[in-house]
């Protein structure tokens, strides 16, 4: 859910004074606390260099330069297109050369389970205090032992009231649409989100691995297919803008891209509930620049740095300091930016399906190829 971004929003100019101040603060606090993992809080960061892997356009374009200016460590940013791609790199056995990777929560969980992650040394990341308290209670990594959350969000219905004539409140409005919206709805095709609306409507967990649950989900989705305009993971919000569709299943941030172009577009989380997705930062055990890696995560949690992703990608972040700085103003145009952590956490966290992965894939194929 990270490939298309609007060009709205102001660029955040990182003031070097603010950064040096923060640096000073972080230096003080980290030297006062004893590091647990044998990391040296006084390490000379100018002698370290980082390789970061992130989704394209998911961090400030000048991040490497501003980070080096602020902390002295060199940084190279590589991109991955999907979680699967970076996972293949990180689990291949050889040293990937990557120090810090951006992955979704359930993947961070799996990497930690395989012993591939360096435990997060909280003493080296004083900006962790900027996080909402709820952000350390996420199911894939309670207490942020191996990962630090970067952004979070949920999935709901994005719609144009001027076309639907009503405000949808339930997944049923999407799955069994009224006559006037029939043929004017789209659903996400990526399997976890293809299943989600039917799972929630039927009261089934979004992480269910039960075959009988899956049969019920499949029956609903095959019935729904006949009412759909299309399955669409990438351009659903433009279909709302053009009026081709009047109601679509959407990630909250992406609905915002539609709102940018048409103020009639609204976002709602259906009453049956939804998911909670989190993108995180993790440090690899193989990293030889662990102090710089911690300093990088600390830098990202700086509200002036973290504001970039909020203003430009229109995603919410667990960084309270950054949200307080940015969200109130954005919330005038994009009400879902004002969603509280408590509301978000009502969503069910997606966890890895393990051996049940192929069952989801096969069901998705059966649904999308049904006649």
């Amino acid at each position: 859910m990270h490939s298309v971004f609007g060009n709205h929003g102001k660029k955040i100019v990182v003031s070097s004074i603010a950064v040096s101040l923060l640096l000073l603060m972080s230096a003080c606090s980290s030297s006062s606390t004893q590091s647990t993992a044998g990391l040296d809080p006084e390490a000379d960061l100018t002698k370290q260099s980082l390789v970061i892997s992130n989704w394209a356009a998911y961090n400030p374009p000048d991040l490497a330069a501003s980070f080096q200016k602020a902390l002295g460590a060199k940084m190279t940013i590589t991109n991955h297109a999907t979680n699967e791609e970076i996972m293949a790199k990180l689990t291949s056995g050889a040293d990937s050369g990557i120090d810090v990777a951006f992955v979704s929560g359930q993947y961070a969980q799996a990497l930690a389970a395989q012993g591939l992650l360096e435990p997060i040394d909280a003493a080296l990341i004083p900006n962790l205090r900027n996080l909402y308290p709820e952000a350390s209670n996420l199911s894939y990594d309670v207490g942020n032992k191996f990962s630090v959350p970067y952004t979070w969000g949920t999935t709901g219905i994005c719609y144009r009231k001027d076309l639907t004539g009503f405000d949808p409140t339930s997944w049923n409005d999407l799955l069994n649409p009224a006559a006037n919206v029939k043929g004017k709805t789209t659903m996400l095709a990526t399997e976890r989100w293809l299943m989600l609306p039917a799972q929630k409507l039927l009261g089934i967990s979004a992480n269910s691995t039960s075959a009988s649950d899956m049969e019920k989900v499949k029956a609903q989705l095959i019935a729904t297919k006949k009412t759909l305009l299309a399955y669409d993971d990438t351009t659903f919000y433009t279909r709302l803008v053009s009026g081709e569709a009047s109601m679509v299943e959407a990630w909250d941030g992406w609905c915002n891209y539609g709102i940018t172009d048409n103020k009639n577009i609204k976002f709602v989380i259906p009453k049956e509930g939804s998911d909670l997705w989190v993108d995180t930062m993790v440090i690899l055990k193989t990293s030889k620049n662990k102090e710089a890696a911690h300093a990088f995560i600390n830098y990202i949690l700086d509200p002036t740095v973290n504001s970039w992703v909020i203003s430009n990608v229109l995603y919410k972040t667990p960084d309270k300091a950054a949200m307080d700085l940015t969200a109130p103003k954005l919330g005038i145009t994009y009400p879902n930016m004002l969603m509280t952590p408590a509301e978000l956490l009502k969503g069910e966290g997606l966890t890895d399906l393990g051996a049940s992965g192929p069952m989801y894939t096969k069901t998705a194929t059966e649904v999308t190829s049904s006649k």
Partner: protein
């Protein structure tokens, strides 16, 4: 006779030079194909007999389960659908492409090259962009519907996209030039005197076409059919965009195994089965073409 004698003489005198020539001429191509085709296909074949890694990749434990899964009715259904869609596309391409190629071949020479350039012009633009532009043109709020509504020709917008027919039309649009070009090449080579002879001997135009023109241009027809059928069979952009993701073709299925489902071994099996199918079609082409060319020699 004289030709074969000459050939033998040159063979005897220049065997070594021949070999050198062959290496120089064929070497780069063969090397390229070996590196970029044979090795990847071998890898795919190897992946197909191992187990899926949890996060993509393969776990090197032997299994034949991937092959038995491929026979599930869902996947067979998708394969049959794909064959049907690619087949219909090819037949339509012949129906539309043959008269076009024929007409171009009969144009005065200077117009011929202009017409051929016009046929090829769509290839100057990326396939994805061309396909996406169809959505702009033909969706419910697209240019065509707006124009028709404005001129009161229709009163409710037409739903032209996101059906299997839209997929066929999109594929036809994308690959029609690949039918026209080889057909043009073979029609252009036809000796016009043959047609005159047939007419003098009393053959009707229809008769002359079926017993003369068609067999003589069969090689172009078969080449064009292969060029249209194979990329249509493996296409996954058109079903996704113009089919609205509601038509699944074998190309989509394979793409999803690698990029979404993290099931490389199963994706490999599906890819291998398409390769096998395509291979069978090439064999058929070979046999048919041989029959036609031996017919011509008689």
């Amino acid at each position: 006779m004289t030709l074969s004698v000459r050939r033998r003489v040159s063979r005897d005198s220049g065997k070594r030079r021949d070999l050198l020539e062959r290496i120089v001429l064929q070497g780069p191509g063969l090397l390229f194909i070996t590196i970029f085709m044979a090795i990847p296909i071998t890898l795919v074949a190897i992946y197909s007999i191992f187990q899926r890694g949890r996060f993509g990749g393969v776990v090197y434990k032997f299994t034949i389960e991937n092959f038995s899964r491929a026979f599930d009715s869902v996947y067979l259904g998708i394969l049959l659908d794909s064959l049907k869609i690619a087949g219909i596309t090819t037949v339509l391409a012949i129906i539309v492409g043959y008269p076009t190629a024929y007409a171009i071949a009969k144009l005065p020479i200077k117009w011929r090259s202009i017409a051929l350039v016009l046929v090829v012009i769509p290839f100057w633009t990326n396939f994805l962009i061309r396909t996406y532009s169809w959505i702009m043109l033909f969706n419910r709020e697209g240019l065509l519907n707006h124009a028709l509504l404005k001129f009161n020709i229709i009163h409710t917008p037409l739903d032209l996209l996101y059906t299997q027919s839209a997929v066929v039309v999109g594929l036809l649009y994308g690959y029609l030039p690949l039918m026209i070009l080889p057909l043009y090449a073979s029609i252009e080579r036809l000796d016009p005197q043959l047609g005159e002879a047939a007419a003098n001997l009393g053959a009707t135009k229809v008769r002359a076409f079926f017993s003369l023109t068609l067999p003589l241009t069969a090689s172009g027809l078969i080449a064009g059919s292969i060029f249209v059928f194979i990329p249509s069979l493996g296409n996954f952009i058109v079903p996704e965009l113009l089919g609205g993701g509601k038509t699944v073709m074998v190309g989509n299925l394979i793409r999803d195994q690698f990029l979404k489902a993290r099931d490389w071994p199963f994706g490999s099996v599906l890819a291998l089965s398409v390769i096998a199918l395509v291979f069978i079609f090439f064999m058929i082409q070979n046999v048919v073409e041989k029959r036609f060319s031996s017919d011509n020699n008689e």
